[in-house]
């Protein structure tokens, strides 16, 4: 039995066309989705567009969520990330992204309403990433947040492609080990 407001229950309602369920999901997951989007596109205005597109897509495609394949949060992050990377690429192709720098907008560290659990997990994953060999970490970040392919990462880091491939897998496996499974939420 699911709780009335559990993620999966909300997805059921969404699938049935109940837009109110989206509100619950929005409040619960937007902080994470926005953080990921901002990290990728770097500009608050673009990240906000990404978030709007993400929720529209989640609404249109609620039936595409398969509970057997993973959490609702994971599904939403996948949508937001691919939307953000699409956007970043089209921005980059217009040479605008080059001038944008660090995420200057949006208060960092202090999230009203966001759970302390999310903050703890962030710190834990951050520490785990720090513990990885530098170029392993860079490879993961360039792939996941930079949207680069492995051969692009190899060119960027001046490393052989085969080495980058092995860094990516080793890095992910190490991350799994360093963050205990009971802390993934």
């Amino acid at each position: 039995m699911t709780e009335p407001d559990s993620d999966r229950d909300c997805m059921e309602r969404l699938r049935a066309g109940d837009a109110a369920a989206l509100e619950v999901l929005y409040d619960r997951h937007t902080p994470l989705l926005y953080s990921v989007a901002l990290r990728i596109v770097r500009r608050a205005a673009d990240a906000e567009d990404v978030i709007q597109e993400t929720w529209l897509q989640a609404w249109r495609n609620a039936s595409g969520y398969d509970p057997a394949r993973g959490s609702v949060a994971g599904w939403l992050v996948t949508i937001a990330r691919s939307r953000a990377i699409d956007r970043f690429r089209s921005l980059a192709s217009r040479l605008q992204a080059e001038t944008a720098v660090e995420p200057a907008e949006g208060p960092a560290g202090d999230e009203p309403g966001a759970s302390a659990v999310a903050g703890q997990l962030r710190a834990r994953v951050g520490a785990a990433l720090e513990a990885l060999p530098g170029r392993q970490r860079e490879s993961l970040e360039l792939a996941y947040f930079g949207g680069l392919s492995q051969s692009e990462i190899a060119a960027r880091l001046g490393a052989p492609l085969g080495t980058v491939k092995s860094w990516c897998r080793q890095g992910l496996l190490r991350l799994r080990e360093l963050v205990p499974e009971e802390e993934w939420t």
Binding site: G17, A19, L22, E23, Y26, T30, P31, L32, Y34, S35, V36, L38, R39, A44, A47, I51, Q52, W55, L56, Q57, W59, R60, N61, G64, D66, R69, G70, G74, W75, S82, I85, D86, P103, G106, P107, G109, E111, A114, A118, G119, R122, V125, G126, A128, L129, L140, E141, A143, Y144, G147, S149, Q150, S151, K165, C168, R169, L172, L173, R176, W184
Partner: protein, 273 residues
């Protein structure tokens, strides 16, 4: 056909990071289409780690206006969708109702007799007209339906999010195999045109959607006499996970296993992310 190698596990990492290079994508899709439990397990393991990466993004809060803007956009779409389904119910043009029987004045018996004859003639003519009206109405309804159906499918081509799909032969496929089409993640529909897909006697080509959870059958491809097939898919699969389309050569009627090809994968085409 394609044997599992250590390199495939590395490709699984690239897959969950969204960092596969084109050639590797095809290699991995073909390998997975052949069914590899090791890689499927690895993908689940690594996918969880990739999700952890998402949690490392610095915390940020969007403007409160975004919430209102987003919820309003969704509500507008919900209303539009409801309106569109109502409208489509009424899209078949109503034809005028046929009129009731004519009023016949009682004046003289002669006039009555004359009118009786006349009205029989009119009635006959009316019946004929009514008959042809019925036929026209039916034809019109059929054409309308056909038109709506065609519009539904051409909408796949010009949908905002439509992605081009192109399938190329694998080393196991004949070099002249071709597949091109369009896929619309929003409606999940796809139209793919295949050339030279006349399978050898006793065999059929079968279309698959490749997902992290494994291949899913999208049906057997039925070519015309020239070896061409136009495949219209009402549901090509979950856009969040659909990675590639693949064609395998199967015994007549398709693979006995609905979740894995039994024969060689002869064509693969990735889905642009």
């Amino acid at each position: 056909m394609s044997h599992h190698r250590e390199e495939h596990l590395e490709l699984c990492a690239a897959l969950v990071l969204g960092a596969l290079d084109e050639s590797d994508r095809i290699e991995l899709a073909a390998h997975r289409a052949a069914g590899c439990p090791e890689c499927e397990r690895e993908i689940v393991r690594l996918e969880a780690a990739a999700q952890l990466l998402a949690r490392s993004a610095p915390a940020a809060t969007p403007s409160p206006a975004l919430r209102a803007r987003t919820l309003a956009a969704v509500a507008a779409e919900a209303r539009a969708a409801a309106g569109a389904s109502r409208e489509s119910e009424h899209r078949i043009l109503p034809l005028p109702e046929r009129r009731g029987s004519a009023w016949m004045p009682w004046v003289f018996a002669a006039a009555a007799a004359f009118l009786a004859v006349a009205s029989i003639m009119l009635w006959r003519e009316g019946e004929e007209l009514r008959g042809s009206l019925e036929t026209t109405r039916r034809d019109l309804a059929t054409s309308q339906q056909r038109l709506l159906e065609e519009q539904r499918w051409t909408a796949v081509l010009d949908a905002l999010d439509a992605r081009a799909v192109s399938l190329a032969p694998t080393p196991d496929g004949a070099a002249d195999l071709r597949g091109r089409g369009t896929w619309d993640p929003a409606t999940r529909r796809a139209v793919i045109v295949f050339d030279h897909v006349a399978a050898p006697t006793g065999h059929d080509y079968q279309l698959w959607g490749i997902h992290p959870g494994g291949p899913r059958s999208l049906g057997v491809v039925r070519p015309d006499a020239s070896g061409r097939a136009i495949v219209r898919l009402e549901d090509a699969g979950d856009p969040a996970t659909l990675q590639a389309f693949a064609i395998s050569l199967e015994p007549e009627g398709g693979s006995p296993n609905p979740n894995a090809p039994s024969g060689p994968v002869v064509m693969v085409g990735r889905v642009p992310s």
